[in-house]
C-alpha cells in the first residue's frame, strides 16, 4: 500500500485505472471521456495512463462519452467516465439508457451548479437529476473516500445481484481540486478485490437484442427487477466492505456515516463535504454541552430508510442541510428523509451552500441555535452564505 498526494479527481481516475487494468484477464477496459470543469482533471489523468487491454476514447460530447461506455460495457468490458453539471445534463439520455440496459458503468461526478447563469461551484443539483434513473449514488466527503468509493462501486455495480451503473460524487473544487494523502493499493490487491467483469447479458455470439421494445407488463417487470436489485445493494455493499477490509486492511466508509448520534437530541443530516463541517460543529457544540450529532448520507441510492429511521428514532430536532434546491419544493435530501423522523420531531430544512456557497462552522452553529428555539417544523429555508 503506497501513499500518494493526489486530488480527488486524480484519485477517482487512479482507482478507475487500477480497476481497468484488473480486467485485463477478461474483456478489458474501455471508456469514453469528455472534459468539463471541474471534472476535467479526472479524464486528463485517465488519458495519460497505459492500461493493458484498455482504450480511452476522447469523445466529442458527454452524450457520446456515455454512448461509448454503453457500447463497451454491452460488449463485456469494464467502463468508467466522468462529468458534471451541464455535461451530465447533456449526457442524461444515455444515462437513462445505461441503467435500462443494466450495464455496470461507473461514473465520477465533481458536483457543480447547473447553469445558466453559469457557475462552476459545488452544488448537488446535477447528480440529483439522476435520482430516479436506476443508478447507485454515493457522495464522498474526503479524497480517500473518493478513491475507495470508485473501487467499491465497480465491485458493487458488477455484482450479479445488483448489475447496474453507479455514480460516485465529490463536491466540485472542495474535493476535486484539493490534494491529500491517499492510500493506494497495489495492482495485485485490486486484482483480488475486483473479479473479472462478467455481464451475462452482454452482446456475444447469440442473436440477442439489447434494449428492444417491450409491452407495459414486460417493462413493469423489468422495473421491479431493477428496483429489487437496487435494494439488494444495501446488503451487497456490506459484503463489499468486508472483502475490501480483508484485502486492503482498512474499511471503506459506511453507507450512512453517523457521528456522535447515539445520545444526541439534535441531528444534522447532510451529504458530501457539508458532513465534514457538520462533524466539526458537533464537536464544538458538544464542548458547550449541547447534545448534537451528525448523519452523513453517503449512499443516497438505494436510500437506507430502515437505518435512517433507527438513527432518527427519539431525536427531537433534525436539521437537514441541502446543497441543492428543488425549486418549488425545497431540499431534495430533506424531501427524502423527513418522513423517517418521529412524527413529533421538528425537521427543518436549510438549503445552505447552494450554488457553491462556502458553508463554514459558524453558519451551521447559527442555524442550530435557531432550530433550538423552534416549536415546530417551518417551511424549507434558503440560507445565503458568501
Amino acid at each position: 500500500m503506497a501513499v500518494e498526494l493526489i486530488s480527488a479527481n486524480h484519485a477517482a481516475a487512479l482507482a478507475a485505472t487500477l480497476a481497468g487494468r484488473a480486467n485485463r484477464t477478461a474483456r478489458g477496459f474501455c471508456s469514453g471521456v469528455y472534459p468539463i470543469t471541474p471534472s476535467t482533471e479526472c479524464m486528463e489523468y485517465l488519458c495519460g495512463q497505459e492500461i493493458e487491454k484498455g482504450k480511452v476514447v476522447r469523445a466529442d460530447s458527454e452524450h457520446n462519452a456515455m454512448g461509448i461506455c454503453i457500447g463497451a460495457s454491452a460488449s463485456g468490458a469494464r467502463s468508467f467516465t466522468t462529468t458534471c453539471s451541464n455535461g451530465l445534463a447533456y449526457m442524461i439520455e444515455n444515462c437513462v439508457a445505461a441503467a435500462g440496459y443494466r450495464l455496470p458503468i461507473v461514473m465520477s461526478i465533481a458536483n457543480r451548479t447547473l447553469g445558466p447563469p453559469w457557475n462552476i461551484w459545488a452544488d448537488h443539483g446535477d447528480s440529483l437529476l439522476m435520482r430516479d434513473l436506476g443508478w447507485l449514488q454515493f457522495y464522498s466527503a474526503d479524497i480517500q473516500q473518493v478513491f475507495d468509493t470508485v473501487l467499491c462501486a465497480f465491485r458493487l455495480a458488477e455484482d450479479p445481484r445488483v448489475m447496474m451503473p453507479a455514480l460516485c460524487c465529490m463536491d466540485g473544487f472542495i474535493l476535486s481540486h484539493t490534494m491529500a494523502q491517499v492510500e493506494v493499493p497495489s495492482q495485485e490487491q485490486v486484482d483480488r478485490c475486483l473479479p473479472p467483469t462478467d455481464i451475462p447479458h452482454r452482446l456475444d455470439k447469440s442473436a440477442h437484442t439489447l434494449g428492444q421494445m417491450e409491452t407495459p407488463h414486460q417493462s413493469v417487470v423489468h422495473r421491479a427487477q431493477h428496483h429489487q436489485a437496487m435494494l439488494n445493494a444495501r446488503q451487497v455493499y456490506a459484503e463489499v466492505q468486508d472483502s475490501f477490509e480483508e484485502i486492503f486492511g482498512r474499511r471503506p466508509a459506511d453507507p450512512l456515516v453517523s457521528y456522535r448520534t447515539e445520545d444526541a437530541e439534535t441531528l444534522i443530516v447532510s451529504m458530501g463535504t457539508l458532513g465534514v463541517t457538520a462533524e466539526r460543529v458537533v464537536d464544538l457544540l458538544r464542548e458547550q454541552g449541547q447534545s448534537v450529532g451528525s448523519v452523513r448520507v453517503r449512499m443516497f441510492r438505494p436510500m437506507l430508510d430502515e437505518e435512517l429511521r433507527k438513527i432518527f428514532a427519539g431525536k427531537k430536532r433534525i436539521a437537514v442541510l441541502d446543497r441543492d434546491i428543488s425549486i418549488g419544493f425545497g431540499g431534495v435530501l430533506w424531501g427524502e428523509v423527513r418522513g423517517f423522523a418521529d412524527p413529533s420531531a421538528i425537521v427543518q430544512n436549510y438549503m445552505v451552500g447552494v450554488a457553491g456557497g462556502d458553508v463554514r462552522p459558524e453558519h451551521m452553529i447559527n442555524l442550530l441555535a435557531e432550530l433550538e428555539q423552534a416549536n415546530e417544523s417551518g417551511a424549507p429555508r434558503i440560507v445565503e452564505v458568501a
Binding site: G71, A72, G76, L203, Q212, M213
Partner: protein, 309 residues
C-alpha cells in the same frame, strides 16, 4: 423466407448467410427498402461475425418486442443520436480482444443526417472501425412522416404539407470531407454493384459509410412493388448518383445515368409526395446538373453532364 419477387432477382442462394439477418415475421411495411438492403447484406456478409447497432428508426421497431428479435445477430438498440458512439465502444472492445467481429450501424436518415450527425462526424473523424449504413427514406418514417434534412425539395411531408423548400443535404460530400477510407452510395436496383460495395465495406477497416436510397411506400405514397423500380428511375434520371469515394479524395462514378427526362418524370409521378408541390422535371434539372458537374470535377471523368437522349 423473405424471397419475394420484389427482390428483383435477389433470390436466396447457397452463397447467402444460412440465416436471414432480418428474419421473417418482422414488422416492416411491404416494399420497405431496408428489408431489401438486409437481404443483400445477408448475401454480402455470408458467415462473417457481425454486431448491429440500431438507433431509434424503423429498424428499431421492426426488431420486435422482448424477448423475441427479428435480427439474427447480436443487436443493441441505442438512443437516437448515439449509434456511432455505441458502435465505437463495441468495436473498441472487439479490437482489444482481437475479435474479427464487424460492427455495423443501421440507421435511418433522421439518426444520420440530423440528430446523429455530430456523433457520426466524431466517429468518422477518429476513423473508428465501424461500418455505418444509412438507409435513407428521406423522411422521419417511424413518427409518421415528417421532413428531415434528407427530404428532397418538393416532397410533401406531415410537417411540410406543401412540399419542403430546402434541398437535400449532401451526405456523401460531408462524409468524404472527413477523409474516411470508404464512402459510397448504393442503389438497390443495381445488385452487383451493391454486393461488391457491401463486401468491400465489410472487409475494409476504419470508418466506412454507405448511403442507401430506401424506398418507403408509406412515406412516399407509392406502390410497394414499385420500390426498386423507383430507385432505378432515380439513378437513370441522375437524381441519385451511384458513386464511391476512397479516402475522401478518389471519386469513382459507378453508374453512368442517361439523365432521362422520362425517368425523372416517372419518378415524380409515381410518388404522391411530389403531387401539387410545384416540383417538376424542369425545376429539378438545374440541381441535378450542378451536382453532376461537381461529381465529374471530383472524379476527373470528362463526360458531358448533359446528353441528348
Amino acid at each position: 423466407m423473405m424471397n419475394e419477387p420484389a427482390l428483383n432477382g435477389m433470390a436466396h442462394t447457397e452463397q447467402d448467410r444460412s440465416e436471414p439477418l432480418l428474419r421473417a415475421g418482422n414488422s416492416n411495411c411491404g416494399g420497405c427498402g431496408m428489408s431489401n438492403l438486409m437481404q443483400m447484406l445477408r448475401r454480402a456478409a455470408a458467415e462473417r461475425e457481425l454486431k448491429l447497432v440500431i438507433p431509434a428508426c424503423c429498424a428499431a421497431v421492426t426488431g420486435g418486442s422482448f424477448p423475441e428479435s427479428a435480427f439474427s445477430i447480436p443487436t443493441i438498440m441505442s438512443t437516437f443520436a448515439s449509434a456511432a458512439s455505441v458502435a465505437n465502444g463495441d468495436a473498441s472492445v472487439a479490437q482489444l480482444n482481437g475479435e474479427e467481429t464487424r460492427v455495423i450501424c443501421l440507421a435511418g436518415d433522421g439518426g444520420t443526417y440530423d440528430i446523429g450527425m455530430g456523433t457520426l462526424s466524431a466517429a468518422a473523424e477518429r476513423n473508428e472501425d465501424i461500418l455505418y449504413i444509412c438507409y435513407d427514406n428521406e423522411i422521419y418514417g417511424n413518427t409518421g412522416g415528417q421532413r428531415s434534412s434528407a427530404t428532397p425539395a418538393g416532397a410533401a411531408t406531415t410537417s411540410t404539407l406543401h412540399g419542403k423548400q430546402e434541398t437535400k443535404k449532401d451526405i456523401l460530400g460531408i462524409m468524404a470531407a472527413h477523409r474516411i477510407p470508404y464512402a459510397a452510395s448504393i442503389s438497390l436496383a443495381h445488385i452487383d454493384d451493391t454486393l461488391r460495395k457491401l463486401q468491400f465495406a465489410l472487409d475494409a477497416r476504419g470508418f466506412r459509410f454507405l448511403h442507401v436510397l430506401s424506398p418507403c411506400p408509406t412515406g412516399w405514397k407509392s406502390e410497394p412493388a414499385m420500390g426498386i423500380e423507383l430507385v432505378r428511375l432515380a439513378v437513370r434520371s441522375g437524381l441519385f448518383p451511384v458513386f464511391e469515394v476512397f479516402d475522401g479524395e478518389r471519386y469513382v462514378l459507378n453508374v453512368e445515368p442517361e439523365f432521362s427526362g422520362e425517368a425523372l418524370m416517372m419518378y415524380l409521378s409515381l410518388q404522391r409526395r411530389f403531387r401539387n408541390t410545384g416540383v417538376t422535371e424542369e425545376s429539378l434539372r438545374p440541381s441535378i446538373e450542378r451536382y453532376w458537374n461537381y461529381l465529374r470535377l471530383m472524379s476527373g471523368r470528362i463526360v458531358p453532364a448533359r446528353r441528348n437522349v
